[in-house]
Subunit: 324 residues, 6 copies
């Protein structure tokens, strides 16, 4: 496959060693969203270095930098499909969204503003978090006109109401807020990999009432990933769909660097199969969140993270290409 | 489910962040075994910070502290059964057993004394080790009147005779001693997950002669956990049974922080299923041993450990409740 | 020296090994500030697990727990003076102040409320942070009636005005706010160890205008600690004085686990000499802040921190005893 | 089983603790290849501390030392077969091959020379790398008379042509060179576990053209290890066969300490089953490569490595014994 | 001081948090040396990610990336002089020099070519290594017309002749080669901080014969840094002088992340004083080498490194400004 | 200086890279104490992998192995004196003393027996611990005929009486036992670097009563190392003297990997000067103890340890040579 546009190709690891050069996402050129070059882009990879919504162990604010660092080990050609996403669509690193670590509400506005710009230029965003709260402002930009569907991989529903006696915007609440405010369609939302000891049943109860489909880990293991993903495809259908991938959905033996690990999760191989099964859906954006470098001395979690980001990228590239 | 007794409830992570406050086991109140409050207890969680029985790499003496630390991330409601053990029975942190790291025999007496007190007050003990030798003094207290049965998860039989030309009390010998001295009933004992290159066949031979059932890892993987646990339930029957869980039974990719890792073990998901399968048995105590913080830079092993301790706690709570 | 009150003595490491038992500050009993026992206390050691004021690398929210853990290695008798502070005054661990990691302003109120209680009971507080913003609510409680003086060890002035276009309450601004609001007397404030590349000169300029004395690291090294501390004693005089010790004042080779390290700092030996030189002053409280466990794999920084806390405790004990 | 020769037995961990004594491979005696004792050897374990062929993250030059260190935890008796390889054949640690880290071509000659000596004395070599380039000089010695077959476990084919515009001898090219130069028979070569995002398809295309059988990870998981290993046995047949085991074939959750990890790999249990399935083949040497200590803070990867080396050793011992 | 050119200013940490945005050196814009913007530059900061000259523990190839990462914590204004180098001269990140990790001689040519370009455009280079061999190709570019003088901070002379029986270009030989080939003037070269157990005296003997001044650590500590730096200034005089700073010159307690540590070194404070004492000399380039991330789990060594780089930058800025 | 005996020379790092070959102490040949070669030895370096006397954090049992590993970076020629100890006397690695980690008293006998053998062959021992209790059995062998003097570098006196209500042989008691039993002459004993918060004054009082000279850290810093070492030389005089170096005497910023760190210690440079000042004394043995690898992720502490061991070795070589 020939590269689509020579200006938007990754630096080759066969020429420039992978430890060399500035660490942009997947060694792509850095393009400002308000520059002329941005108009040529199909997909933009951006960081949202924000974790002020974290209830226990912060760290994901450092995620985008470490994900960029490890992403320099990503090559170009998908091992199963042979697809080279960079040959199909123009991709770039859009840099990081603006944030204020001292102010959650201001940050949500800043992030939404950044994604409004991306969305207005019809660039499909692939985001590296940040804690899971950052999915809320992204959805607020992408679901503005009409609520989107979502395939959500996570150990937790993130459908809680409030923390600490009133905090409504935390990394445990984004999807409740997104449903309440009409950016996310609960009946076109499926959550996969949910597990772990609970505070109580209230987050499940609320989500189920809204029509969300929750696939707990035991169901996933019993039915297998193929069967569950067939159902996921039916649930989201052909309308616009978002993919949100919390690294803590994967078992912590594969991805220890995260703030709220839950044992008994699925493998990276299963993660790969599940993301690949999204191929052909009308995916309009995705994120990979909750990678926390301070809790991952080897960087292995970020490597898992960018490997999954590449899988999402391939799905996004096919969807973007299909729409053009 | 309403809490049984407001005085014995964990601090809520929705009110007090999980990183705050003193790290007692599962954020329970600390109760001295010789205090008046102890009479109200059904289950006591205690530490035995002792590893002088370790033949190679010490460290589990630091286990109880790190397990307490990580246990502050445990919530209250079981994800499968919806059971809240703290609503069913009164639980507390009993502190640590007394030990003398310089003197194995004195320590075994001190620990037995501590568990005698617990046992006399009819508190069901859940223990955080320490190396595996600490199961011996616990069994000496619990099995005093009559030998107990045991479901034992481990990579090793811990049925060796002597080390270093004569040492009879090491972390490789506790169950041989417990059988010899009549605290453990070998015909009601099953060992699950055994594997690893051996010194020789003598530990196996002796155990099998006594009537112990050894399920090696290959058999476990071939038959599956459901089938093996059905057999385990039959072996221990309805009499009093102890649960001993060596963290090294789980594959070291999930739990690297232990002194004698063996590759090719079972997953945390399988561990969860197996402990859950003990529900309804007449369990009168349990332990989780061999978590070694110096060999686990991320604390992930202790997190696996306390997650398994919560599973054991739920089984203990049901058994304790059934007996009351 | 005989213990003052047998109920408020640390557990001895000669009896209970240091790795055993619950990790309270310096192995003291835990006493709730609203319990009857609190009335017997002279000094209370408390944690403030809060770092939402951190502009770059969070982590000090985990400080109190790790400081408690390492503090179990603290013994009782000062190596120079032979003083045993626990024989002079009644001390206890007061637990942690309430906080809400999602809400800076609410947290400042919660912390102030906690210290109001301590202050009202005439307990002298020794605080383990948390980031440096936590000194502000402590000063708001202690300096309510009258602004206090301060001896402040730090690499940074923490006298900035705002961050990120408006954030007034961050770990770089506490003392500017405390001076503006009348809790801290700038003419009785000395800052020692200041260094590091600056944003600009505005924090220095403002502080100097208020009358603060800034001793930069070069001046400290040229004059020596004895001379500088003589000046410090003159500046604060005999009125009420607070001690604030930012662990980043010490060179990062001794204390790497902190968010904003600056090379070229003073040694732990110099730190010890400087705190000891506060003996006899009218010290009414102290803190040790910015210990960040996620950036300190060995725990060595927390060990430095609690070693300095013991030095501050001895100074507080003498001052408290002198006032009684 | 009685030991074959008392002079070539491992030090027992029941007598000398595993942390004591010089760390030779599996606690065997150290024998120089040019000494008289070497004539008594059947199998020699050697290190090749070389990683100058590494394209990205060096480190495996430190592999042999860490593998020796961890190998002191290896015992003697195979858990499945009950075989004690040290009772069957005489084994020793041959030390390390000579290398020059500054000069790839000179090193390849030095290593070949070392293995020529081993081969001439009819000692079967088991090698601890080193990066994967070191398999080339070993094959150059063993396949000198006639190309050997190979069972190759890896995430990568290592069949690339050149790197960085001309470098022909790197850790991504050894088997292409070995086939081109007639040391390796491509039609008797099978590669198992291949996966990961590719540069392009050229390494696959070339290998397939030569007749190499590539089993990608998806095929392995679908068919299962028994079926694939049956095919592997057919492919290599009864002629001389080499086993090359790249630690990165195993999933990085089990073996993070390696330079080019690829997610979605097989487990250590599967690795054990696959190596055991080589029993009875005419194996004439083996290696375990790409263990990189600087990227493995816990040493867990080296522990996996030596555990696999023991499995290979048992297969080699049976093959060596069968030939004698 | 007003910024010289708004296009070449660092991103402010008061606006964009330090953990956000792409990690260029000191948050400067990235400028290609062959772009039009390069003509506006006074100083260029570049990485040379090369360590194939390392005789023992590789790692510095990862140095430039980690130095860039940590450099985002550098602010703008010198704490002693109040100087803002970015207000005086135009600075940028020039990216990394091209290298081939498989080929030392080719890499030396590639690096020289890169620095030829920089030099031809009259940009003053500040380099982040890489092992110390990389100083050789830099000097080959800068000293082409006339040998330069050098102030060299190091634990080792790096004046060895050959390693491993013939290797002439290693990280222990660069300055011998530079003197032999006429790029470095030995009579205008001073080496400061030399210490450590030696192979033999040959490197010292050769250097002293050429007229190099060697200040061993004991002399430095006895005379003090002021006195030694006065001599250093006399030795290099007013001619063109290079500054080479090996991080291992600093004591390993401050900078553990390096391949050849030697105990008993100078402090970071002394390092700062010594580099500041170069102010006013005719410095035409500088480097900071041997930072090895795999041996520095906390990143503290890179932080020391970039802090020293800022000191060198200020000296370079003054020298560059003086020449313009 | 020509090597004394070609059979007892270290492997050169100029020929065999330092990461290669078996890690014996300083790359010396391994010689069994009961072999014929042992008769040719002047100095033997041995490990005592024992830490069962540790009251808090075990680990030094792993010390000898890590010290051997790092010692492969030691070269041959002293930087100050130009002395090559291997050219003066015959040195070898004697392996490790036998120990039983389960049995303190048996281990003390085993270790004494090992040192009896060494002493009988007139080999001067240089020992790598192990915790500090191991100095007791060494002194029991060396001081059998007549109590020896001692220069002791430590943060602690190790003159306590009992721990945990009766344990007399711990790492806090060796020198009290050695004095009581007549192996150590208290009037010829000086302890340097003592500091840290105390249990009480009893260890000091007892030692001072026996005539031991204690130089606390403040005195050392005030008088300087030259003055204190002059006194040390006077105290021990010309009779037989032992050197015991506890790594925790050095400040923990230089040597964090130890079980009982005390802040405010001396530097490695000062340590070097002090050991060098022992030159010419009648030193008959030495040890370096309390290096604890599990608490030192970088290995830097072991590097400090072996660097000090080389200094002691030079002093021993001169003393041994003077006696021959």
């Amino acid at each position: 496959m020939l590269p689509k546009d020579a200006d938007f190709q990754p630096v080759s690891g066969m020429k420039t060693p992978r430890f060399a050069a500035l660490p942009t996402f997947m060694r792509l050129p850095h393009v400002n969203v308000d520059s002329a070059d941005a108009d040529k882009l199909d997909i933009g990879i951006a960081g949202v270095p924000f974790d002020s919504g974290t209830s226990n162990r912060p760290g994901p604010r450092h995620g985008p930098r470490q994900l960029r660092d490890l992403s320099t080990m990503i090559r170009t050609t998908h091992p199963r499909t042979g697809m080279n996403p960079f040959a199909l669509v123009n991709c770039a690193d859009l840099g990081d969204a603006p944030v204020n670590p001292m102010d959650i509400m201001e940050s949500l506005d800043l992030i939404t503003g950044f994604y409004d710009q991306i969305h207005e230029r019809r660039i499909v965003p692939l985001t590296a978090g940040g804690d899971h709260l950052i999915s809320f402002p992204v959805l607020r930009a992408l679901g503005k006109e009409k609520p989107v569907g979502m395939v959500h991989f996570d150990a937790h529903t993130d459908m809680n109401d409030v923390y600490f006696g009133g905090s409504k915007y935390t990394h445990g609440t984004p999807f409740r807020r997104a449903i309440e405010q009409g950016y996310l369609d609960p009946r076109r939302t499926i959550q996969i990999g949910i597990r772990g000891i609970k505070y109580d049943a209230s987050d499940f109860d609320w989500a189920l009432e809204q029509g969300v489909r929750i696939v707990e880990i035991e169901e996933l293991f019993e039915r297998g990933v193929v069967d569950v993903m067939t159902e996921a495809r039916e649930i989201v259908g052909s309308d616009e769909t978002y993919v949100s991938f919390d690294i803590d959905s994967i078992d912590p033996s594969f991805a220890p660097g995260t703030g709220t690990p839950e044992i008994g999760g699925f493998t990276t191989f299963q993660a790969q199969q599940m993301v690949r099964a999204l191929d052909g859906l009308n995916i309009i954006g995705g994120d990979l969140v909750e990678v926390s470098p301070p809790f991952d001395p080897t960087g292995g979690t970020a490597w898992v993270g960018v490997s999954i980001m590449f899988e999402i990228l391939c799905v996004l590239a096919r969807a973007r290409d299909a729409r053009s």
